[in-house]
């Protein structure tokens, strides 16, 4: 199966190990991966801050890069969710809207693609740790994807997955929210970290770069002994 990798700007700049793990997992599952070179950023920072025109520029760039792809796979529920917003972003422009719709329809988050498109739930991964999983808001509510990450993680040998209290509450990232509303974001991420600590887990797993950057950033600042990993890093362990 031919798929196009949408690595995301955070993945490309900061989480290259996770991006590589994702590539290796998908290749092992028989996918032939290409990397559309025109890709940059999905435009979410501008879109969510009210800069529609600037978001449209980013979106046009991404649509041009991905419109010939049959499957677009990304290691971020939130960025996948942004692709799904593209048709709405061009509601006054029928031509671009149609192109946007095609891209939106072909876009999948990494775990969603593996479980729902490839129909695979056991990747033969091995990872010995007590861990908990952070469900990202956009993956859960915009993509409506709640089960795939758990299906895959439950089949990881050696992984003890502990339930996370108030897992449905946002971690306080919210893109520019994290820098515009620092005192509020701080309280949100602190509560999230407290719930993670209460599980007794050594590892926190998430499928979204934004949440990862936020929660890990806070955990490291506070010097907590918890490792934060992208789900691709766990699924590629053996």
């Amino acid at each position: 199966m031919k798929i196009s990798l949408f690595v995301t700007c955070l993945g490309e700049l900061f989480y290259q190990e996770a991006a590589k793990d994702m590539v290796e997992v998908l290749e092992r599952l028989g996918c032939e991966i290409d990397f559309p070179r025109g890709q940059i950023c999905c435009g979410q920072p501008a879109y969510n801050s009210g800069y529609r025109k600037d978001a449209q520029k980013a979106a046009k760039q991404m649509i041009s890069a991905f419109e010939s792809s049959d499957y677009i796979v990304t290691p971020s529920g939130s960025c996948a969710g942004m692709f799904k917003e593209y048709p709405g972003l061009f509601r006054e422009d029928a031509v671009w809207q149609e192109r946007a719709q095609k891209v939106a329809d072909n876009t999948y988050e990494f775990t969603q693609f593996i479980v729902n498109v490839l129909g695979i739930e056991d990747l033969g991964a091995v990872y010995h740790a007590k861990a908990t999983y952070h469900t990202s808001c956009h993956m859960m509510r915009l993509l409506k994807e709640t089960e795939s990450p758990f299906k895959l993680l439950h089949n990881v040998e050696g992984l003890e997955l502990l339930p996370l209290e108030n897992n449905y509450d946002c971690c306080g990232f919210g893109g520019t929210f994290a820098v515009k509303m620092v005192p509020i974001s701080e309280q949100m991420v602190d509560e999230k970290v407290r719930h993670v600590e209460e599980t007794g887990a050594d590892v926190l797993i998430t499928a979204d770069g934004g949440c990862l950057m936020n929660i890990k950033g806070r955990i490291d600042r506070e010097g907590k002994p918890i490792t934060v990993k992208h789900i691709a890093q766990i699924l590629n362990s053996r």
Binding site: P45, S49, G50, C170, G174, F177, I184, V189, G217, R221
Partner: protein
């Protein structure tokens, strides 16, 4: 007092809220407590079938009603008048208050009882009536407590006193109302009951809000648990009901659906203890009902949402389901919003009703996690409307110039691959002076806000695109 709460700027209000430990614990407890109850009464209640179907039913009714609002308001007013009630259409809070003042003055009324109503808070009715020598007694337990505290304001649209604990309540009632008991909720409630009994019986005017007007019969439906709305609509000679202009349904059949959505979404009840439906039946013959009835229908800026992307915000039935799941509200509580309408719906409605100058920051007080949209029983796309508000805020030049410049740069960078390539290549070098132990603790420029409370990741040293190319070559070699 009206819609606005407090005079401080937004971030000062947030700071005050974050310092209030009890309030924050109380908001978190309320959210956590209500969550299970709401789920059990909605998607968890098999008896009512698919909750999504109910939400769609609610949305359908609300959409049709708003699209034909003029027609249904005309029908409602005609039916109220046919049964001897008076109807006043008020475009502004002032017009509504003027009319109600006139009614009160004509009766030479000195005492009014009021059942909890957000719209009367919105128009500042208590102050308006006090100006003409009529004291308004709040009778909803929470509002009674806030009134005793004098200038305290609602922090939640369903449970206005959510920010106060029982010992604060005891102290207030001891000081202001001569209470001598303990801080047990049962005892405090019994005191309020005994204090208000005679007030109910002796009031000249009874004031209510309106959960739903029923157009086909000219009825006002009130949804309560305490029984105070029943007292207010039974013993005073005059009843004045104030409704936001969008709060109506075409028929009784539609009322059924809306009451079900409201009770279950607000507090996880199958139905509230009282659903009281008043259809005017006035005149000297009336025994335990009003002899005179007034319905005041308020626009107050709502019409600005009609015909815009915000029209569906008027579908709101004030259940507070969005407030009860909002992670921002959870931490800052109601007063930080600076409006009597708080949480996600407050952040959508307040700028519509009160303008961006006053409430333009509220749409940013959201991480856009969409928990609100998911919870709304009439499917208002709340988080999308928050984004739309931000767009207008930017279009109308309220946003900071530096942010605008940054976003313009982002737009260019995100649509110019050659620039992005330079940026990704340069990032590790650029960031190098700030990197310690693999992350950035004290970032420059806009990164500063991030690193105030968290580490910023150091850009990876490797170029992912290059790695991918080489990796692919490796693949073809292996093949």
């Amino acid at each position: 007092m009206a819609m606005k709460i407090g005079e401080k700027p937004f971030f000062d209000r947030v700071d005050d809220a974050l310092d209030d430990t009890f309030m924050r614990q109380s908001m978190a407890n309320a959210q956590d407590g209500l969550r299970g109850k709401k789920i059990a009464a909605t998607e968890g209640d098999e008896a009512i079938g698919d909750w999504e179907n109910w939400r769609s039913a609610g949305e359908e009714i609300r959409r049709h009603t708003l699209e034909n609002l003029d027609y249904y308001l005309e029908q409602l007013s005609e039916n109220v008048a046919k049964r001897g009630g008076n109807v006043f259409f008020a475009e502004t809070a002032e017009e509504a208050n003027d009319y109600i003042q006139q009614v009160v003055k004509a009766k030479n009324a000195k005492n009014a009882t009021k059942a909890k109503s957000m719209v009367t808070e919105e128009i500042g009715l208590n102050e308006a009536l006090s100006e003409v020598g009529c004291q308004v007694h709040e009778t909803d337990l929470a509002e009674y407590i806030l009134q005793a505290e004098e200038d305290d304001r609602p922090s939640h649209i369903v449970v206005p006193s959510l920010h106060k604990n029982k010992s604060q309540i005891r102290d207030t009632l001891t000081e202001k109302a001569g209470y001598t008991g303990t801080d047990q909720p049962e005892e405090l409630t019994a005191f309020a009951r005994s204090q208000l009994r005679d007030v109910f019986m002796n009031a000249d005017i009874g004031i209510t809000g309106c959960n739903f007007g029923v157009a086909e019969s000219g009825s006002v439906s009130l949804v309560t648990n305490e029984g105070n709305a029943n007292m207010v609509t039974s013993y005073p000679e005059t009843q004045i009901s104030v409704m936001g202009m969008e709060r109506l349904v075409p028929t009784w059949e539609d009322l059924d659906v809306m009451v079900n959505l409201l009770s279950r979404s607000a507090v996880g009840q199958k139905i509230t203890t009282y659903v009281t439906n008043v259809t005017p039946d006035v005149g000297p013959e009336s025994v335990d009902g009003p002899k005179d009835f007034h319905l005041v229908i308020v626009d107050g800026g709502r019409s600005k949402a009609l015909g815009t992307e915000f029209q569906s915000a008027l579908h709101c039935i004030r259940c507070a389901a969005c407030v009860n799941v909002c992670p921002v509200y959870r931490h800052i509580g109601g007063h930080a919003y600076g409006s009597i309408y708080q949480g996600p719906i407050g952040a959508v409605l307040s700028p519509i009703l009160g303008g961006y100058e006053e409430y333009g920051e509220l749409p940013y007080a959201s991480s856009l996690c969409a928990a609100c949209t998911e919870a709304c029983p009439v499917k208002i796309p709340l988080h999308e409307q928050l984004i739309r508000h931000r767009e207008i805020y930017v279009e109308e030049n309220y946003a900071e110039k530096s942010e605008k410049a940054a976003m313009t740069a982002f737009g260019i960078g995100a649509s110019t691959p050659s620039l992005f390539k330079i940026a990704t290549k340069g990032a590790p070098t650029f960031a190098k002076p700030f990197v310690h132990d693999g992350s950035i603790s004290n970032g420059p420029g806009p990164m500063k806000l991030w690193t105030k409370i968290r580490e910023f990741p150091a850009p990876g040293n490797e170029n992912f695109r290059k790695w991918f190319q080489e990796h692919k070559k490796g693949d073809s070699r292996n093949a």
